[in-house]
Symmetry: C2
Subunit: 452 residues, 2 copies
């Protein structure tokens, strides 16, 4: 690996930024400064719902390392609570809002995303919270004692995880979702129904197909209006999706892609006036990705994607070589003990790209049927009719979903056809699987659908 | 699918035979007779240790269906406790030991395997048991009340599962293994050490690197001799490996492969005098497989393999078309709560084929480190130096090993290189995974080993 006396600046202390800094260090870069607006670095926002739920003891435990650790152990200078005001790409210099300026040889921009809050009346009332930073989680916990009813706006996986967490804390929780299904876009309606049913069985209420139109209250929240009905509550959680934080990118004149995030090359470099910009790399939620399944853009605002991109950006910033390929965006969520995962394309996503899709759903198990505590596992697989390729998978089950999602993901990324997938072998032991795994059974059913 | 008035006979009522019969039925065959020496059909021998352990309530619960079920619901005639004496392939006729004879148009031979019992003194004493059939399990359970000490001969996964089961039943258990590691051949020594340590921490004793040389006793077992030492015991479990049951195949003059099982084509047809034999298909433990990784034979005496081969044999017997490709033989076992899995080649197996191998081991987790009850997961991956391909994986962990083994298996079967594997994405949620999965971390380490 080429090692040069490069001055590297990383903007952002989330998974992408921290990984980029550490990777650059591992590859020989010696002068690395990381600048973040947050007061913490190196924690997983995905863990916040589980702290609220009480499964993880406190917010401090989800912080993997302190800024001091990075300074001492890795020689990375970390500036917390620091905002970058401007970047001059031609001079290779940035200035912070407190007026300091920094030169760089290469720059990593990992400014992440922020929760999209719809521009409705009452959105700034006390008691309305996003769930993004540890400070959000702490603010929610501080308010909890005086709260009886909570409305969660948005039934994506984060919304549902937080809904379960607050329900576990004894709150009366209603989820409001503008689409007519939970986990919209990335999960199909039939599979989403299993997830909603599970949440309802726990005691969580849903108002579906109606957007939040207003938040009511005098100074602090007293209720929300959705579809003409008022739901009384003392807390509103905004889990209404994440938007790429592109302020700096726009200031630099970088091209913003059709999905509202920065368009990048496989080297994670941005474009300006139609040209690739040297010595700047983007990683994480601020990036618009390319799909691994069809030629076309997609978003992949996941911690796992951030880490992978952080590695590429860090390697590049240190003078090395790496690329970030197309993504299948596998995800997993644990919602009230139910594991909910998916990868590749849902039906609605595939149809957005104009693909002709067939699918198959199999309800099997994550254990032999006779094994005590046998647990259901429902697997849905989707194929592209034209190529016969497997293009998506969704699993809802009690156990062992993550590895199976990664298994399907590997097949999707390698362009495996459904017929080929049926031939892929599975490991078997009564406590952990069926002899012909439920995933294989779904593939077999899908193959016969394709043959019709 | 072509449907013909074919008379099909299936010999064997295990996973391979039952699957072949059911598959032939699904594909239009109407006259199907299944003949088995056992009194039960359609159960998983893999479940027997868990019944002994008490996790599964009784042996009856592991029998999925009765012979009557197959007769009534699937129109398959089942003859239990019936031995086939001879098959005349030219006349397409078989005779049973009770003198009946049956004609067939096509024949499926799924005679399985039997436990290899070394020809040592005392092997026929009362108190010496294989673990293969439900009747073995029942006999073990009947004897248990009068047993204090048990010796398990053989530290493969079945031996260890039974050792744990009997230990759970309050017995003093010693495992005797002629190799110097547990799970020999299919697991490498470093990984096997983790498994043995776990068993020892439960209280199971081991005598390693010494074969069982003698079983002592007057009428019934009173001890065993291994490496010159006598170990007192009242029960000996023979978990000394499975040999293909090739009596009938030999009687038919079929070619026996170099590994002691029947050599078959990808259509699962055998050879006689150098020629492929029509209208006969073999499936399950009686078959010698071909490796998916190198050109060459291998054994895959697994329930999951039996089911896959049963499907091919049943389809073929019914006049359809299907092939059984090379195998990576993924396996999973649960040994005292520890999940132990592997796929493709271990180092010793790879070296048997003359491959030059590098490997990498990573100790990570099956959860985020800060998640309560965070559980270790150790992953070993192996690569072929010449091709750069991933050729094997082994995992020891507490959770979600099966899906990860299937994931690695898919990559091996699709010929993925280690460099490509590193790019494969993983799903992430703190309760079920690390943000960069331990499997990916092992692949990354292996890639850098390959680069050296």
């Amino acid at each position: 690996m080429r090692t040069m006396a490069r001055k590297i600046i990383v903007i952002g202390g989330g998974a992408a930024g921290m990984t980029a800094a550490s990777t650059a260090r591992e590859h020989g870069a010696e002068d690395i400064t990381l600048i973040t607006e947050d007061e913490h670095v190196a924690y997983s926002p995905c863990a916040i719902p589980f702290v609220i739920e009480g499964r993880i003891k406190d917010f401090q435990s989800i912080v993997m390392h302190t800024p001091e650790f990075y300074q001492k152990e890795r020689g990375i200078k970390v500036l917390v609570k620091t905002s970058v005001d401007k970047v001059d790409l031609d001079k290779k210099q940035l200035t912070t809002k407190d007026g300091s300026s920094f030169d760089f040889d290469s720059l990593v921009v990992a400014t992440g995303g922020t929760v999209f809050v719809p521009p409705i009346e009452g959105k700034d009332l006390k008691g309305v919270f996003p769930v993004r930073f540890i400070s959000d989680g702490e603010a929610i916990m501080d308010d909890l004692p005086s709260v009886h009813q909570v409305v969660v706006a948005g039934a994506g996986v984060i919304g549902l995880e937080v809904a379960v967490a607050l329900h576990e804390r004894g709150k009366d929780v209603t989820v409001v979702e503008m689409f007519d299904q939970v986990v919209p876009r990335i999960m199909d309606k039939d599979m989403a129904k299993l997830v909603q049913d599970h949440c309802e069985s726990l005691g969580i209420k849903f108002v579906m197909g109606r957007p939040l139109s207003k938040i009511e209250g005098q100074g602090s929240v007293s209720g929300v209006v959705a579809g003409g009905t008022t739901i009384p509550c003392q807390m509103v959680i905004m889990a209404t999706g994440v938007r790429a934080n592109i302020r700096l990118a726009e200031q630099m004149g970088l091209e913003i892609g059709s999905l509202g995030a920065v368009r990048v090359s496989p080297s994670l470099q941005p474009y300006r006036k139609g040209r690739l910009v040297p010595d700047i790399y983007l990683a994480g939620d601020v990036v618009m990705c390319q799909s691994a399944i069809v030629p076309g853009p997609t978003m992949s605002q996941l911690g796992s994607t951030a880490v992978r991109q952080g590695r590429v950006a860090g390697m590049r910033a240190a003078g090395g070589s790496a690329t970030f390929p197309g993504t299948a965006s596998p995800y997993i969520s644990v919602i009230g003990g139910l594991q909910v995962g998916g990868t590749g394309m849902s039906r609605s996503l595939a149809e957005y790209y104009g693909l002709k899709v067939v699918d198959a759903v199999v309800k099997g198990g994550c254990r032999a049927r006779y094994y005590p505590g046998a647990k259901d596992m429902t697997v849905k697989l989707l194929a592209d009719v034209d190529s016969g390729r497997l293009i998506g998978g969704q699993i809802v089950g009690k156990d062992d979903v993550t590895g199976r999602i990664n298994w399907i993901t590997a097949a999707i990324l390698k362009g495996v056809t459904v017929k080929e997938f049926v031939q892929l072998e599975n490991a078997y032991c009564p406590p952990t699987s069926m002899v012909f795994d439920t995933v294989n059974a779904a593939a077999e059913k899908l193959a016969s659908e394709l043959d019709r």
